[in-house]
C-alpha cells in the first residue's frame, strides 16, 4: 500500500513539524512495515513553475507536424517563448513549464535550445514527463484559478507530498486504506483520528434492483447510482497524482474515482454501465461451465465455487475479483450503478487462486473489509462523480443483507501482562483496546463461563493460569481474575481470539518495553547420537580432503539416460513437482550423484582441476504404491493418532545419503615428487571413512551397477545388505556428462549406519611380537578381501594384526592367471613371549587355510 502523507493527514491530527520519516518510524513501531518514504519530487530539481499561455501560433512543419510557438507568462517581467508539440490547450489556460537549468525524472536536463526555427526557452510538461501519470497525448492543463503564473508547480501539483510505501501483513486488511493508516498513525502518535462523518441516505432498495441468492458468500451488497455523467470529463490532477503516487494508472474519471475511494476507505467498488445492464442484479455461485469475459479480455470458464454477480444475461462480474467486459464503463457511459459489497474472504481467496487473478479488490476482500464502510464509500463516489463529472446522484440506496454479526471476546485483564512479561494494568489494557476501536466492558469471572468467542467455536479463555510454575510468575496486574468482554471494531475482522487482543495492547504499549530474560530449559541431552554421528562422518570426509557442497535437490530425468540406467531402475521412480522452477528439472533427486557430478563439471569449468567433493543430504523416494492425498483434517483439536498416521503414510521416505566425487590428483605432485590421481580406491576408502565414524566395517565386493565402470565398481555391504556403491564411473557416462577422465564416485545410504555404542578398550600385551611376512599365490579372480579373511581365520588367536602390503603379478614367474598377495603378520601372545616356532606354526596354519579355500600356495 502506497499512500501520500497529505492524504493520511486529512484524517489525523499529525503533530506540527512531523517529518514523513518520523511518521514512517511511528508506524513501524506499531507494526507496519514501512519500506520506503519517497516523493515524486525526488527526481525533479530546478525551476518548475505554473505558466499561463498568453498566445500561440500554430506553425506547420515540413515533416507534417504542426508545432505551437507559445508566449507563456511564467511570472517574470517578460513572457517566455516556448515551442510545444501538443494542442490540447487554449490561450489563457494554466500549464506547467519547466525552465532551463531544471532536471526532470530520469535525469532529463532542460536547457534553452533551438528547435523548429525558434529558441525554446523551456518546455511545457505532460503528466508523464513529470513522472505523475501515463498521459503523454497532451500537456498537463491545470484547472483555472488553481494557481497563478510563477507559482512553484511542485507545490501546486502536490509533488512535494511524501509517499509512504507500506508492506501490509495479511491480518491488517484495514491498513490497505488511507483510513486505516491514519487510524494507526493516530494510535502510534497518540493524536486524534477523524473518521468519515458524512450523512448517508436511508436504505430504500431504490438504487437498483438487487437480489442475493448466496448470503454466505455475500452477506451484504450495497448499490448507488448516478446519471448524466459527462463521459469526457477528465480526472482532476489532484486525484490523478494521488493515484499515481499509490501506483495506479489513471484510466477514466469513473474508474479513477472508484479506485480513489477504495484507497481512501478500503472498500473496493465496482462501476457498472447502467445502459449495458440487463435487468436485476443477482449474486450467486456460478454454474459449472458458465463463462465470463473479464475486464482484461480473458474468457474465464467458471467453477461452481466461484461467486458471480449476474444480470439477466448471465455473469457480469467475478465477484470481488474483477468485473466483466459486457458492462464495462466506456467512453460513452453516462449512467452508472456503483457496487460496494462484502464478500466471504475465503471464497475470494479461492477464486484468486483458481483463476490466477490477483487484484487490488481481491487483496482487500481476502484480508477482510469493514462491512460498515460501504455506505460511506458509495457516498464518496457519488460526490466525486457529481463534483468532477457533472453527474447527478440518482435517488435510492440499495442495501441487501446485514453483514457479519459482531463477535465478542473474553479477555482476562492480566492476559496481556502474562504473555508480554511486562506489567500492564487493566486500565491500560482497556485504554489501548479502545484506541483501536474496541468496545470494552467489564464482566466478572463467573459470567465468563457463559461467554463464547463465536469466531472459531472454541470456548472463551477462562480464568488465568497460575504463573508460579515454569519460568516464574507474570507481573501482578491491578485486577487479577478480572475479565473484559471485548467487541472488536467492524474494520478488524482479524481480532477473533484473546491473543489477538493481547497483541493490540502490547504493540501500542510498545514492544520496546519488553524486558530480556533468558528462559531456563530443563537439562538436555545435547545433540542426539545420530546427529553427532552425522557431524563426525562429515568432519572425517572433510579432513580426508573433501570439500562439502550443498546442491539443489531438483533432478532432470535425462541424467538417468546419461547414467545408462535400465528403464525399470528404482532410481528413475522420482517424485515430481507440480510447479518446478525449471521444466528441465521437474523431479526430486533419488540419488546425490546427479547433483554432485554436475557440481564437478561446474568446478572444472571454473578452472579447478584437482577436485574431491562430498554432499550429505536427503533423497526422496516415492511410496511403493500411489497414496491418495490425506483427508482434510481439522485443527480445532489434536488429530487422533489414526488421523496422524493417515497423514504420515503419505509422506515419502527421505533417507539421508552421503556421496563423494573425485577427479584429478587426490595427492598433488610437487617438489617431493609425483602426485597421485584419484580413482576407484579413493571412492571405496571414502565409504570406509564413513564406516569408521560409525565404528563398523564395510564389506566390499565387486559389483556392476550403472553409472559405474563394470570392472571398477564396488558394492558396499553392511551386515550383508548393500548400503552403497563406489568406484570409477563408466567411461560412457564420463563422456556423456563431460566429466574429467577417471572420475570416481561413491554413494552410501547414511541412514544404514547407527550411532556407535561406547568403544570397547583393547587389552594390550607388553610381550614382544613376532613379525612374519607371507606371500600367497592365488588365482587372480579371488578377491584380496577373501584371502585376507582366510589368513585371519587360519592364523588364529595369536595374530595381532595383518596388513596386505603388496600385490604382484608376473605371468612369466608366477604363471598366468595368478597373482601374489603379500601380507605382513604380527603375532603376539597375551601371557608370554612368543617363540618363533609358535608364530611360524600359526603362519603355516594361515597358509593352509588359504590353500584349502583358494588353492593358494606359498610364493617361492
Amino acid at each position: 500500500m502506497r499512500a501520500s502523507v497529505s492524504w493520511i493527514a486529512e484524517h489525523v491530527d499529525l503533530p506540527p513539524g512531523l517529518t514523513p520519516r518520523e511518521l514512517g518510524e511511528a508506524l513501524v513501531r506499531v507494526g507496519l512495515e514501512v519500506e520506503r518514504v519517497e516523493s515524486a519530487a525526488d527526481g525533479i530539481s530546478g525551476p518548475l513553475v505554473v505558466g499561463r499561455v498568453l498566445s500561440f501560433v500554430d506553425e506547420p512543419q515540413k515533416n507534417g507536424k504542426v508545432i505551437r510557438w507559445c508566449s507563456v507568462d511564467v511570472g517574470e517581467d517578460e513572457p517566455r517563448g516556448i515551442v510545444c508539440g501538443a494542442h490540447n490547450f487554449a490561450a489563457g489556460e494554466l500549464i506547467v513549464a519547466v525552465l532551463p537549468g531544471a532536471t526532470l525524472p530520469g535525469g532529463f536536463a532542460i536547457s534553452a535550445r533551438k528547435t523548429y526555427g525558434h529558441v525554446s526557452d523551456g518546455m511545457i510538461c505532460s503528466a508523464r514527463e513529470l513522472g505523475i501519470g501515463e498521459d503523454h497525448a497532451g500537456i498537463l492543463v491545470l484547472e483555472a484559478d488553481s494557481a497563478k503564473p510563477g507559482d512553484d508547480a511542485l507545490d501546486v501539483l502536490g509533488l512535494r507530498d511524501a509517499v509512504l510505501d507500506i508492506a501490509v501483513t495479511p491480518d491488517r486488511g484495514y491498513c490497505l486504506s488511507v483510513r486505516g493508516l491514519a487510524r494507526e498513525a493516530g494510535a502510534a502518535l497518540d493524536v486524534a483520528f477523524h473518521d468519515f462523518t458524512m450523512a448517508l441516505p436511508a436504505a430504500d432498495q431504490g438504487a437498483y434492483p438487487v437480489t442475493v441468492a448466496d448470503p454466505i458468500g455475500c452477506d451484504q451488497f450495497s448499490a448507488r447510482a448516478v446519471t448524466g455523467l459527462d463521459p469526457t470529463a477528465p480526472t482532476p490532477p489532484s486525484i490523478a497524482a494521488r493515484l499515481h503516487a499509490a501506483g495506479m494508472r489513471s484510466i477514466s474519471l469513473p474508474v479513477d474515482v472508484t479506485n480513489y475511494v477504495m484507497l481512501e476507505t478500503g472498500q473496493p467498488l465496482h462501476a457498472f454501465d447502467r445502459a449495458r445492464l440487463n435487468g436485476a442484479i443477482d449474486v450467486r455461485r456460478a454454474s459449472a461451465g458458465e463463462k465470463l469475459t473479464t475486464l482484461d479480455g480473458v474468457i474465464r470458464v467458471l467453477d461452481p465455487d466461484d461467486l458471480v454477480v449476474t444480470d439477466e444475461s448471465g455473469p457480469i462480474a467475478l465477484a470481488g475479483v474483477m468485473g466483466g467486459a459486457s458492462t464495462e464503463i466506456s467512453g460513452e457511459t453516462t449512467d452508472i450503478v456503483l457496487e460496494a459489497a462484502h464478500w466471504h474472504p475465503a471464497a475470494i481467496s479461492r477464486a484468486v487462486r483458481r483463476h490466477k487473478l490477483p487484484s487490488e479488490a481481491a487483496k482487500r476482500f481476502e484480508r477482510g473489509v469493514d462491512p460498515r464502510i460501504a455506505g460511506v464509500a458509495l457516498q464518496r463516489c457519488v460526490d466525486l462523480l457529481v463534483e468532477h463529472g457533472g453527474a447527478s446522484a440518482a435517488p435510492g440506496y440499495t442495501v441487501i443483507g446485514d453483514g457479519p454479526a459482531p463477535v465478542t471476546i473474553s479477555l482476562p485483564a492480566n492476559r496481556a501482562a502474562e504473555l508480554a512479561g511486562l506489567p500492564i494494568d487493566a486500565t491500560t489494557v482497556r485504554a489501548r483496546l479502545e484506541q483501536v476501536g474496541c468496545v470494552v466492558t467489564t464482566s466478572t469471572a463467573d459470567e465468563s463461563t457463559a461467554d463464547e468467542s463465536p469466531a472459531d467455536g472454541t470456548t472463551a479463555d477462562g480464568l488465568t493460569v497460575d504463573g508460579s510454575t515454569g519460568n516464574g510468575a507474570a507481573p501482578e496486574t491491578t485486577e487479577p481474575g478480572g475479565l473484559f468482554t471485548v467487541t472488536p471494531p467492524t474494520w478488524r475482522p482479524d481480532l477473533t481470539d484473546p491473543a489477538d487482543l493481547v497483541e493490540e495492547v502490547v504493540r501500542l504499549v510498545g514492544y520496546d518495553q519488553i524486558p530480556s530474560i533468558l528462559p531456563s530449559a530443563p537439562a538436555g541431552n545435547g545433540w542426539t547420537p545420530r546427529q553427532r554421528l552425522r557431524r563426525s562422518a562429515s568432519r572425517s570426509l572433510a579432513e580426508a580432503g573433501y570439500a562439502e557442497v550443498i546442491n539443489y535437490p531438483f533432478l532432470s530425468p535425462a541424467v538417468h539416460d546419461a547414467f545408462g540406467l535400465p528403464a525399470d531402475d528404482e532410481r528413475r521412480r522420482a517424485i515430481r513437482l507440480a510447479n518446478p522452477i525449471s521444466e528441465a528439472e521437474p523431479e526430486m533427486r533419488t540419488s546425490l550423484l546427479p547433483g554432485l557430478l554436475a557440481n564437478l563439471v561446474r568446478n572444472v569449468g571454473r578452472g579447478s582441476r584437482d577436485l574431491a567433493i562430498f554432499e550429505m543430504g536427503l533423497v526422496y523416494l516415492p511410496a511403493e504404491t500411489t497414496t491418495p492425498p490425506p483427508p482434510r483434517i481439522g485443527v480445532e483439536h489434536r488429530p487422533s493418532d489414526a488421523e496422524l498416521a493417515a497423514i504420515e503414510r503419505t509422506v515419502p521416505r527421505q533417507p539421508r545419503h552421503v556421496a563423494t566425487a573425485t577427479a584429478g590428483e587426490f595427492e598433488r605432485a610437487g617438489w617431493w615428487g609425483q602426485g597421485r590421481l584419484s580413482g576407484w580406491a579413493d571412492a571405496v576408502e571414502a565409504a570406509r571413512t564413513i564406516a569408521r565414524a560409525a565404528r563398523v566395517e564395510l564389506d566390499v565386493r565387486k559389483g556392476d551397477i550403472p553409472p559405474w565402470h563394470p570392472g571398477r565398481c564396488a558394492e558396499l555391504l553392511l551386515d550383508g545388505a548393500v548400503v552403497g556403491v563406489a568406484g570409477e564411473l563408466h567411461p560412457r557416462v564420463i563422456a556423456a556428462l563431460d566429466l574429467p577422465p577417471r572420475t570416481s564416485a561413491m554413494e552410501l545410504n547414511f541412514d544404514a549406519f547407527s550411532p556407535p555404542p561406547p568403544a570397547q578398550a583393547p587389552t594390550l600385551s607388553n610381550f614382544p611380537p613376532v613379525l612374519l611376512d607371507l606371500a600367497l599365490v592365488v588365482p587372480e579372480e579371488v578377491p584380496a578381501a577373501d584371502v585376507l579373511a582366510a589368513v585371519r581365520t587360519g592364523a588364529g588367536q595369536l595374530l595381532e594384526s595383518v596388513r596386505l602390503f603388496d600385490v604382484y603379478s608376473d605371468p612369466a614367474r608366477l604363471g598366468s592367471g595368478l597373482r601374489s598377495l603379500a601380507f605382513a603378520l604380527k603375532f603376539r601372545a597375551m601371557d608370554r613371549t612368543l617363540t618363533l616356532d609358535e608364530a611360524t606354526a600359526a603362519r603355516d596354519a594361515a597358509v593352509a587355510e588359504a590353500a584349502a579355500r583358494f588353492g593358494a600356495t606359498l610364493r617361492a
Partner: protein, 373 residues
C-alpha cells in the same frame, strides 16, 4: 712373540727405555693431531694404539725382562699407553663434535617449502553455521529437532493456523508435489519453513519443549543475489508454563550475541504470522556500526543502510490455535517461536555478498571456511 723363557735380548729391551717410550708417545701425538677427520684418526689409532703399535710391541717385551725390572718397565709403559689413549679420546671427541656440526649444516633444509600434497578440508559454511546454532542452544539444554523436507500440507500449513483459504498460504510461494493424477493435489509440498518440525514435536511430546530446528526449506523464488529457491532456516520453539515475550526477547538477544559478539542485541517490531500471536519481527543491532550511523551522514553504514538495525526474521508467542491443534492446552502452557534464514545470518556473519556463491558449490568458496564458518 717372546716367551717367558726366551733369552734376554738387550737390543729389543731398548724399546722399553724411557726415551723410546717418550718417542712413541710423541709420534702418537703427532699422528693424532695430524688426523683431520675421523677416518684418519681411526688409522692413527690402529698405528699407535693397535696390536702392532710400538707401544703394544714394547709391552710384550716386559715378559723378557728380569723380574726385578718388570715392575718398573710395566709402570712406564702403562703410563705411556694411558697418555696415548687419553690423547686419542680427546682428539676423537673434537673430531666427532666437528663432524656432527658439519652434518647438521649439511642436512639443513628450506623449511619454507610447501607441503600441500593433500586437498584442503572444507565444510560448507551452511552446515557449520547450523552446527553452531545447535551448539549455542544445546549448551542451554535445548535439543535439535529435524523433520522431512517433503512434508504433508497439514503439517506445513493447517497445523500452523494457515488454513486452506488463508492469504498467507498463497504468499508462501510453495512448491507442490504432483499427485498421482498429475494435479497439484497430492497433499504434499516442499516445506516452506521448518515450522512443521515444531508441529511434529508438539504432537509427539508433552511440554516442557525447548527445541531448535535448523534445516532446508523451499520457496519458488528464482536464484539471484539475495534469493534462492532452496535455502535454510533455523527455528526455535519453547513451550512451557509461564513463558512470556520477555523470554523470547532474552533468547534472541542471547543468540545475537553468540553469533555476532557482545553487545549485539535485538529489538522487536510488531508483525504478523499466522502461527504466532502476538507476532514480531526481530531486528539485529547493526554489528558493523552498532547504530552509530543513524543520523550521522559523515559515517554512513552500508550494512544497515544507516538504519542501525537489520531485519533478522520472524517470531512471536505461539498462537493458542496452534497449541490446541497440536494437543497442548493453551490454558496451561504458553510458548514462543522464532525463525530466521541461515543464509542471511551467514551472509552477515561471514560477510558473504552473493547468495549464488553460497549455493553454487564452488570449492574455492567453501575452502575459505575450513572446518568452521
Amino acid at each position: 712373540m717372546s716367551g717367558a723363557n726366551d733369552p734376554y735380548d738387550p737390543k729389543q729391551v731398548a724399546a722399553l727405555s724411557p726415551d723410546a717410550l717418550a718417542a712413541g708417545v710423541a709420534a702418537a701425538r703427532r699422528a693424532f693431531d695430524q688426523a683431520s677427520n675421523l677416518d684418519d684418526l681411526h688409522g692413527a689409532q690402529s698405528a699407535h694404539l693397535g696390536d702392532r703399535s710400538p707401544l703394544a710391541l714394547a709391552n710384550r717385551e716386559i715378559a723378557a725382562l728380569p723380574p726385578a725390572a718388570k715392575a718398573d718397565a710395566g709402570k712406564r709403559i702403562n703410563a705411556a699407553r694411558s697418555e696415548v689413549r687419553q690423547m686419542y679420546a680427546e682428539r676423537l671427541a673434537l673430531l666427532q663434535t666437528e663432524r656432527d656440526a658439519r652434518v647438521l649444516v649439511e642436512e639443513s633444509v628450506d623449511v619454507t617449502l610447501p607441503w600441500d600434497r593433500r586437498l584442503e578440508a572444507a565444510r560448507h559454511p551452511l552446515t557449520t553455521t547450523q552446527e553452531l546454532v545447535g551448539d549455542v542452544f544445546t549448551a542451554m539444554g535445548w535439543e535439535v529437532a529435524e523433520g522431512p523436507e517433503i512434508e504433508a500440507e497439514w503439517f506445513n500449513f493447517d497445523a500452523l493456523n494457515i488454513g486452506v483459504d488463508h492469504p498467507a498460504r498463497s504468499l508462501m510461494d510453495t512448491f507442490f508435489v504432483q499427485g498421482p493424477d498429475g494435479s497439484a493435489d497430492s497433499g504434499l509440498v516442499l516445506r516452506t519453513h521448518t515450522s512443521p518440525v515444531q508441529a511434529r514435536v508438539m504432537l509427539a511430546r508433552t511440554p516442557p519443549i525447548y527445541i531448535v530446528c535448523p534445516g532446508k526449506v523451499f520457496r519458488t523464488d528464482e536464484l539471484d543475489a539475495t534469493h534462492s529457491p532452496v535455502f535454510h532456516q533455523l527455528e526455535g520453539l519453547v513451550v512451557d508454563k509461564g513463558i512470556t515475550m520477555a523470554h523470547l526477547k532474552g533468547t534472541l538477544d542471547h543468540m545475537a550475541e553468540a553469533f555476532f559478539g557482545p553487545g549485539i542485541i535485538t529489538r522487536l517490531r510488531p508483525s504478523y504470522f499466522p502461527f504466532t500471536e502476538p507476532s514480531a519481527e526481530p531486528d539485529l543491532l547493526c554489528f558493523v556500526c552498532r547504530g552509530e550511523s543513524v543520523g550521522n551522514p559523515d559515517r554512513p553504514c552500508r550494512t544497515c543502510g544507516s538504519e542501525g538495525w537489520i531485519e533478522w526474521g520472524g517470531c512471536g508467542m505461539v498462537n493458542p490455535r496452534v497449541l490446541r491443534a497440536c494437543g497442548i492446552d493453551p490454558e496451561v502452557y504458553s510458548g514462543f517461536a522464532f525463525g530466521m534464514g541461515i543464509e542471511r545470518t551467514m551472509m552477515f556473519r561471514n560477510n558473504a555478498a552473493d547468495m549464488r556463491d553460497i549455493v553454487e558449490g564452488d570449492v574455492r568458496f567453501t575452502a575459505a571456511f575450513g572446518m568452521e564458518a
